[in-house]
Symmetry: C2
Subunit: 308 residues, 2 copies
Amino acid sequence: MHKSLKNALVGAIEAGGTKFVCAVGTCPQDLDRIEFPSGDSPEHVLAQVTDWLGEQQRRRGKLQAIGIGSFGPIDLHRDSPTYGQITSTPKSGWRNTDILGAVRRVFPDIPLAFDTDVNGAALGEFYWGNGEGLHDFIYITIGTGIGGGVMVGGQLLHGLVHSEMGHLRLPRIPGDAFAGVCPFHGDCWEGLCSGPALLARAKMAAEAIPPEHEAWDRETQYIAYAVANLVCVLSPQRVIIGGSVRKGGQLGQDRFFQMVRARVRIALNDYLVSPPLQEDIDRFIVPPLLGDDAGICGAIALAQREIA
Amino acid sequence: MHKSLKNALVGAIEAGGTKFVCAVGTCPQDLDRIEFPSGDSPEHVLAQVTDWLGEQQRRRGKLQAIGIGSFGPIDLHRDSPTYGQITSTPKSGWRNTDILGAVRRVFPDIPLAFDTDVNGAALGEFYWGNGEGLHDFIYITIGTGIGGGVMVGGQLLHGLVHSEMGHLRLPRIPGDAFAGVCPFHGDCWEGLCSGPALLARAKMAAEAIPPEHEAWDRETQYIAYAVANLVCVLSPQRVIIGGSVRKGGQLGQDRFFQMVRARVRIALNDYLVSPPLQEDIDRFIVPPLLGDDAGICGAIALAQREIA
């Protein structure tokens, strides 16, 4: 499985569709960090990122590696001509952005690790959070979009492209006429449950939606269908749900998770007999221990694993 | 990844809910085989199986290992007290059957390998079929039930229990009022698309359903939703569909696969840009090269891998 990490000084980039988070440090307790808005110009933000990493290197010493967790879809095949690029994203200005190449040009002699933002976050939780000691688990983020990182048998899942579990098709709740917001699929999971979907459904921000509003029932029911599907396919030991939506706005994170867990149990209907899916479900579906830092800590872990 | 196999003389058991297939041999081209109906008495059929394997050993020489691919749910954790048992199956008489123990008692000094029937079939296709050279692919069977074996990064997926992808929840086709036949979930994938589901929907056997019957439209549409979901979660390099239903009855296997492929492309809607999911989809969704022998050949592979 994974080698242990050595607390080497490394750089980290969490490349998101809304913002880039950058950090330099040796472990989650020792991070200098900064954020830049992603904007429409990859050249601009990547120059800000590499300038800042260069400054930190001059200040703290030679970076041993840089880890990059990126939004996607991205090309993860090291032997591909477009390795390290964001490929078919609908995000304006970002299609075919060579994110790894931009970092490589500024840091030509440092090992670089590149993976999805959600595989990075899964790795962060594996080393320092709720994935510790597990060989099969899922890290889901529900925010601007929905995505998931997957560990199977102690390895991050890559495959042909990489997981795009946010685009799962789900059963519709009877009477729910909300069309969904995914430009590709309408009412896939992301189309029904992302932050923008919740806003479109309730016509107010999550923080303003009252706890008894029907939007929370539907949000947690669709998430439960998706999690039950993931359990049937991947048989994880745990499901970690991060991102902004899981905080539950006025409903609160605890109540949000209680609703999801109860509905996953109903969806599975005790077909799979295993305590984590039954009486121990409170420890099976959990928020990230690293909170909103799972992604950037994961990029640190990607970097440190590259030289372990 | 996997070590190469050495064509050792081994025994193989494909334990199905309807029949047990047993074989002894060194490779798919050299198999002596027999079948027994599963029936309601595990003791009875397991005695037939072990008697036959003993006879073959006396005839052909010492078996170097025995591989067992079993229907389930089963316990695959070597350190569990119920390792090697069929656990929570609804099949009459079979709950808590210690299938591995029954073989172990008769063959106390031979290495035994135990996995799901579908992981076994995936392994058979990996060594001798349409999974050759692939590190990430799925083997699905659609017959009495629906199940799938999964290879991720060159390893068979196990996790908390094992994959039970037949119980995926899917969007309903508008106007389709068929309730589904799964005793646990009603209209999950297996409830909508297994052989018994197709029979219940069309009120005739697959072989009798005319090609233009609506049942084929619905069967292939739900399979397409499920395959699209599996693509989003697992990002396989290929999806192999075996089992009896994929032969398509009067529709024919070629037309059946054409309909599934076309509908997977519509479901994915070119969100994932990769030739196997687009122009090369004819080579992405395929029947097993080993045909109906994927399972028993897989049990041979399980045995040979155990001693490789």
